[in-house]
Every structure is written in C-alpha cells, then in structure tokens.
Symmetry: C2
Subunit: 261 residues, 2 copies
DNA sequence: CCTTTAAGTTCCATTAAATGGAACTGAAGT
DNA sequence: ACTTCAGTTCCATTTAATGGAACTTAAAGG
C-alpha cells in the first residue's frame, strides 16, 4: 500500500469528536505498527499536512488543509451559490439553514447558517446521515430514477423512526411526491420535534448536486411561515438552476405544498 | 522524494485563483514528468484527496479535505473562540472583522465576517500578507522580543507603502507602542483608504497565537466609533486571555488609544 | 527515590512502491 | 486525413515504505 493511502486514513480519523490524534490512536484505530504510525505522523507534519499541538505529541490538521479545504466551496461553485441562497433565506426567516451533498446513500452537511431563535436546530458540518431518512436526502434522491435509488440500497434499509420511510416502496412513493412538489419535507425523522424542508439543484457541467435545506422546531412554525420557507428556497434554487441550466431541476408546485400538512 | 511530498505540492498549487488543476498544470507548475503527474492525480483521487470535476480531466480538492480543513478551527480552539468574539464585534459595529495567524513573517487570514455597510472591506481567506505591514501582523509580532523580530527579517524588508514601517528601527518603535497600547493600528498600508485595528492573544498550552482584527474605510469612522472598536476588541481578547491564562497578553491602555490619531 | 509500565522513536534487512523516459492512445483543430 | 497537444501506460531502475525488535523517554506506583 502507498503511504498516500495511509495518510488519507489518518485524515479520516479526524472528526467532530476527534480533533487531534497521537501515535497510539493510530495504532488502535488503524491497526498499524507503531513504528509506522510514528514515522507517518512525523512525515505528514514535515510535509505540512499536520501540525503538532504545542509541545505535545498530539497532531491536528494543518492550516494548509484548512485553506485547501476552504477552496472546495469555490471549486464546487454550485456550493457557493447555494450557500448564498440558504444564507439569505436563513437570515430572512431566522431558522437554521444548511446545504448538503450526497455521497452514495449518505448525506454530508457542507455549510450551515445557525438560526437566530433561542430554540434553533444545530447542525454539524461533516456528519453523515442516511439519505433516505432526511429531507435533504430525499430531495437529492428524487433527482435519480427509481432504479438508481434501488441500486443504492441493495440490502434495503432500517428506518430510524416511525415517520421515516419504512421500506423501499414507501421511499419511492415519497420520492414521487417530491418530484411533483419540487421540495422534500421531513418531520421527526432524525431528531424529534424538528421539521425540515429541502430543495435540490445540480450543475450539469460538473455533475455536482446539492440540497438547500431549512430546519426548524415543528412547534414554532405556522403554516404560513412554512409556505414562505418553501417559496423562498424554491425560488432561490430556481435562480441557480436557471443560471447553470440544470435541466433536471424540479420547479416548485405550490398547490401541493398548500394541501400537504 | 516521498509521494507524500508530491501530493502536498499538488495541494499547494490550489489557491483562490486556481480552484482546479490538470496534468499539464502540474508539469508546468512543479516541473514533474507528466507520467508522474498523471498517476499522482489519479492516485490522489482514488484515495479521496481530490475529486474530478464532472467528466473532465480537471481535479479539485475533495469533500474530505473540506471536512478535515473545517476541523482546524476546532482543533485550534483558540481560533474558534477568537472567531466568536470578532463575529460579535463585527455584528455590533457593522464593519468587516477577521482573525489571522502568523506563519513566519507572513500573516494568513483564517476566518472572516463581512461587514454590513455598502462600503466594506473584503478580505480573502488564505491569502498571505507581510506581517510587518499590517495591524494584525504587528499585533502578533509585538508578542515577540525585538531579537525574535529581527531574526524573522534577516535581509530586512521592503515597505509596500509610505505609512508602513520603512525599516527595522521604525518597525521596532511601532511594536513598542503596540506593547504599551495593547492594540495595533494600520492606515493606508495594504489598501488605500482602509484602516484596521488588531489585538493578539495566545494559548500557552498549544502555542497558538491569533490576531483579532476589525477593518473599515478610514473616511466613515468617527473617533468615537474607533474607540468603541478598540474597546470591544480589547475586552473580547481579554476575556479569552483570562480564560486560557495567556500570560503574555497585553491589556488595553485606553489613554494611549485616545491620544493617538 | 527507585521501579514499573506505557508511549514514542530509531534501526535494519526485506519488500514494495515511485520514478522517468519512451511508446502509445485519444481528442481537437486544420 | 493529417497534425498537434494532452493524457495514459509500460518497463527496468531506483528509491522509499514496512514491521519486528531494540532502544529512549515520560508518566504512574510503591
């Protein structure tokens, strides 16, 4: 195996709950000999991928990674555009907004705008959640054909809550609604008491696809405000879709939004 | 040379003006054989460091790098704390705020909060500017001894503008003022018409040091508002310094702020 | 203070991967 | 159909990575 692969394994060890690693962390997490772990961490630091934390033996991601990672949103300029829209809507409504991408059958948050309200939904960038059981996920899955969706779940899936799709048939039925409505909605799925509304848009030239989402406590949002969120997100996404000529974009169908709960 | 070193060279090719690279880019930028460039980019993509842009032969940083890079601010929790303070002050004052770190004799922006005013200072994350010719840089340099500062400039420096320090003696004289005043100030140095005010704080346990900065158009800020900025930044930094027991922190001396222009 | 254990580093022969020149493929323009 | 340029694959050579064990350091226990 290439040292590159080991280096990436090290990077994958970092998470929102593990901000730095030591030689023994690598030995236990990756099962590598400590001689390797020791040299690898030092090499990565010498090359500038990692930094040592003060004088300790702890290693954390470097400023270089921070800067290069920061470029991602510009390299994938769709993300930057979508983030601007979500930021605007989040500011206007006051609830938490974020944008997510799909990797296989999982959804990863990329940027977030915390809401202004005391009771707000907190999202953590970089965490992975199942695509089928979230509004962002279904907004993105709705851009695929039923066959492609089935292919993502060769072994089916286990619903995390009663309001999530319970099986493939229910998922496909809900995706069909998303395709007609132009937005996806969730209620009590990942987090109890939380609703979320998402729309998806994609860039045909790069193949990138993102979901724009607003998430809020179910109890505090009146039907009129819910419609306002749907309208704002839908219009914002439509602007992007027009700009980048996303032919698969599903325009909003407000009459469905009004009848649905 | 290790492939790790080449991979990092590739990452360093990315910048705010180069969001993706091709095989030939690497050949010209790094002078490597194209056989290497081709395999290296593919290997980095296969390992998850890079992504291909759609179906093209262009490579950009990956989502993984975005996520790991994002952790930097939490791993270096001083940055997160400082960012919260600057965000609060920026919101309150309405002008652009950002935080920076020093790498050798250069300053790198890490996070930014754009101001609300129509005429606002725009900062670009990740760009490097000379430490001696910026308020953030001098706030950080003031934490070093004169000998350490001299050691950073073995060959002296070239002032970028008339209001920047013109030579080492002037720089040291201005750092001495920063050490008494507890804040650093710039005017027309990097950008004409722009003033900036910075304070620095450091974490003794990790060795991290950051500068908190507010930057604004010189023409639109009255003396009273300037004092308010200095007070807010100084108090915010003092909170952090107390929390993390930064013994080298320089408390604000408002009487100097009032006499200086 | 000395002992014990854990954590990290260095050494070395073995094994595996990276290198660069050149030949090859494929696509874009003339 | 020809030319040109970008990118990929091949192969023998060179170079680096590997993992076991010995060694050094640092913290915990008596």
């Amino acid at each position: 195996m290439s040292i590159l692969s080991s280096a990436v394994d090290v990077l994958r060890c970092f998470s929102s709950t593990r901000h730095d690693v030591t030689v023994t962390d690598l030995v236990t997490l990756l099962g590598m000999p400590k001689s390797n772990a020791s040299r690898l961490l030092r090499a990565m630091r010498d090359e500038g991928l990692l930094e040592t934390v003060g004088e300790s033996k702890r290693y954390r991601p470097s400023l270089l990674l921070n800067q290069v990672g920061h470029l991602y949103r510009f390299a994938a300029s769709l993300i930057d555009r979508a983030d601007a829209i979500v930021g605007r809507v989040s500011d206007q409504i006051g609830h938490t907004g974020y944008i997510s991408v799909r990797r296989g059958n999982e959804i990863v948050g990329v940027t977030a705008h915390p809401g202004r309200h005391a009771l707000r939904v907190v999202t953590s960038i970089g965490d992975r959640i199942p695509a089928f059981a979230s509004s962002t996920g279904r907004a993105l899955l709705a851009r695929l054909s039923d066959e492609e969706v089935r292919a993502l779940y060769p072994a089916g899936f286990t619903p995390p809550s009663a309001t999530a799709p319970q099986d493939m048939d229910e998922l496909l039925a809900r995706l069909a609604i998303v395709r007609r409505a132009g937005f996806a909605e969730s209620h009590d799925e990942a987090v109890h008491g939380v609703r979320a509304i998402s729309v998806a848009v994609g860039d045909p030239t790069t193949g990138d696809e993102v979901a724009l989402c607003l998430s809020f406590p179910a109890a505090t949002v009146e039907p009129a405000e819910r419609l306002a969120i749907i309208r704002s997100l839908g219009q914002g996404a439509a602007e992007i879709a027009a700009l980048i000529q996303d032919k698969r974009f599903i325009p909003l169908n407000l009459s469905i939004a009004e009848t649905a709960p």
